[in-house]
Symmetry: C2
Subunit: 408 residues, 2 copies
């Protein structure tokens, strides 16, 4: 029997970034760009704000007029009126001020704003109960964004603050890398569609397809489901070829037997050059994973056990999708601190992903491993997240502080 050649997870990530690149770009209007990656660098077309703005409710003043003022010796200024929101501010002279609201424009002559609570108004005479420094409570023209500067570099993901920044510049559409389309096939003669009510002996409902389709959508992809492929090589190859033309990433899932795996591997070799890149990964659960580059398109063969399939797609499927979507920057992997509640052994040379249930205790969060075979989806559904044991470790001890990545 042929031994499986396994690749380290780090090497798999490198293979992914060497072989696959951001998809072509499309122009999307601002209300649809959230989550996408920029395919152009955006320059600031004009100063933001394009006038000096107050950051508080108060009175626009010349700071010098308030110097030396205090509760015992207020500075007296003449209030000549109010800055209407969205309008040009009136002019003030030495010894004058005007009411200004948060976000309102400062008169050209004013260089500071004194907050309402630091003043007392009697008729049109304003007492300033403290002094203000030049620039105090003012956002200056161009202080947020300066004309000609880079606003956002190519490759940046457009989160809510970036969407807001583009709006503040009046930019209504940008070039982004288009969203990847993922095609899914289930494989294996034991599988039937999950909608089948009565099972025959030996049959299993295909639980991977709906779970993986949702996981792909969560990771920013559009999905296409091709159904369950029969264990017949010609049909298998033909349907895969047709699907591959329509998608950016093709995923096989479900069949866990060696026979199905062989079909999948042969198909991946036939679909295009250079073919298979990875025939197994030194990871648990999920070792029997296949990855190919078929004429520039990634094809992923997931292991059959449900927990393994989801784990591998969450790690490597996501990495491929990020690559296609145009992610340039390293992604941070946030985690939750907890104290391990059991000893866990792990084989050196293999990266282990342990399912963890987090439990609150008087001493903080306790990380309780959910043991069970990777064929049992319940063990992942019971888990709040995963604990990674790196390849160089031979396990972790009860009481150790660990970091758990939450499964969302």
């Amino acid at each position: 029997m042929k031994l499986m050649r396994v690749t380290n997870p780090e090497d798999v990530f490198n293979i992914i970034s060497e072989h696959f690149a951001a998809l072509d770009k499309e122009k999307l209007s601002l209300e649809n760009v959230g989550g996408y990656y920029l395919a152009e660098t955006i320059y600031v077309p004009e100063d933001v704000p394009d006038f000096n703005r107050s950051t508080v409710d108060g009175y626009a003043v010349t700071a010098r007029d308030t110097f030396g003022a205090g509760e015992g010796m207020p500075a007296m200024l003449e209030c000549i009126g109010e800055v209407l929101m969205g309008r040009t501010a009136p002019s003030i002279k030495k010894g004058q001020c005007c009411l200004v609201h948060t976000g309102g424009m400062l008169p050209a002559e004013a260089d500071a704003v004194i907050m309402i609570e630091d003043t007392e108004l009697t008729g049109s005479m304003l007492q300033c109960l403290r002094q203000v420094a030049p620039g105090e409570n003012v956002i200056h023209r161009g202080e947020d964004l300066k004309k000609g500067d880079v606003s956002l570099f190519k490759g940046r993901q457009l989160r809510s603050p970036e969407v807001g920044m583009l709006a503040s510049l009046g930019i209504t559409a940008v070039d982004v890398h288009r969203k990847p389309v993922v095609g899914f096939f289930s494989t294996g003669d034991e599988l039937v569609d999950y909608s089948k009510r009565e099972l025959k002996p030996g049959q299993i409902r295909d639980s991977n397809a709906p779970a993986l389709l949702y996981l792909a959508e969560q990771n920013g992809a559009a999905v296409k489901y091709g159904g369950i492929l029969p264990d017949q090589f010609d049909t298998f190859l033909e349907q895969s070829r047709t699907m591959l033309e329509e998608v950016d990433l093709l995923v096989f899932s479900g069949g866990s037997s060696v026979g199905t795996r062989d079909y999948t591997a042969r198909t991946m070799q036939e679909l295009g050059k250079p073919g298979l890149l990875v025939e197994g990964i030194s990871i648990q659960p999920g070792k029997p994973t296949l990855l190919a580059n078929c004429n520039g398109k990634p094809v992923l063969g997931l292991p059959g056990h449900p927990v393994s399939a989801l784990n591998i797609f969450a790690i490597f499927g996501k990495s491929i999708l990020d690559c296609l979507a145009g992610r340039k920057e390293k992604q941070f992997k946030p985690s939750i601190k907890a104290v391990l509640a059991r000893n866990i052994s792990s084989r050196s040379g293999r990266t282990d992903y342990v399912r963890i249930k987090l439990e609150e205790t008087p001493d903080g969060l306790s990380a309780v491993p959910v043991f069970g075979r990777s064929g049992m989806l319940r063990t992942l559904a019971e888990a709040d997240g995963l604990l990674v044991i790196p390849a160089e470790k031979e396990g972790l001890s009860n009481g150790e502080q660990v970091e758990v990545e939450i499964w969302e």
Copy 2:
């Protein structure tokens, strides 16, 4: 001038969970339920798997037939054939075995599977080079899910493993709490739609609306945008009343002046009972936040500064949405460990959210605060996440280990 009555963040969370509850339920088909919260408890209708399955490629055997076997003294068994995937397994007798693939059904008489690599087949004679224990490499009927047990409790969020579990049970539709609809209004006479190319003096483009709409969608809501409300009380109230009837959460955003804030507060009082619950939160940025319960529906008045508005919506808007969506369980807040690169001061009694840029250094991640006013959206766009300084702390020191929540 009336002083703002401020509420602690913890109290605001409690007010939210006391006043607002999960929305009514709807039945959704399995391909659409990802991310929703269950509005019913799901029981297991049948054993999963409903037959004893092999977890490996190997030979189904009676474990007793292999006892004592080893490389030097293999147990000899007659191989009577193969279990076809998705078919009933053939019968075996004492001293017999049959080939079984991963996921295949075990013959009724078999109680273990010996892996292919531990055997040698010559003709129909199989040499077992080791012994196997009863149950080895087998998932027993009902081992994943047992008929009659609770599969998933009401209130559970349906992540990918839960979607897969429901599929494995043949459940094609479930009752979930419906998705909240959020209505947004921008307020403030200085604001113009972000698509406006040429600004008049004193005008500002409305950057909050598109940023908040995306943030609401990211948090599982459907959105409705009502445009920019004028600073005229009657129109303000009338349009708000109409919108509130169509949505589950109404949000006002954009106006930062006291005048607009007053309109918003008066509107929130008029829209329904009991009216205003929160008039300010001891948080920075985002103190001038309003929250009301108007005849059972939440109405949120965000502060005008863009960073404050996004911060408050990410914390409290999300909490309201989670409540409406039916979240029962506490949510974990994953974070990234980093070393603080500066001293940060913070006023005791106020919870501070500091924008942080994470930088890689030879010693690990460095957390660099992005200073700047909350009116400047750039400061949030430059940040990878936020660092929370609890109310009881008076700051953090350069070199301290901190935890940064990533802004996604």
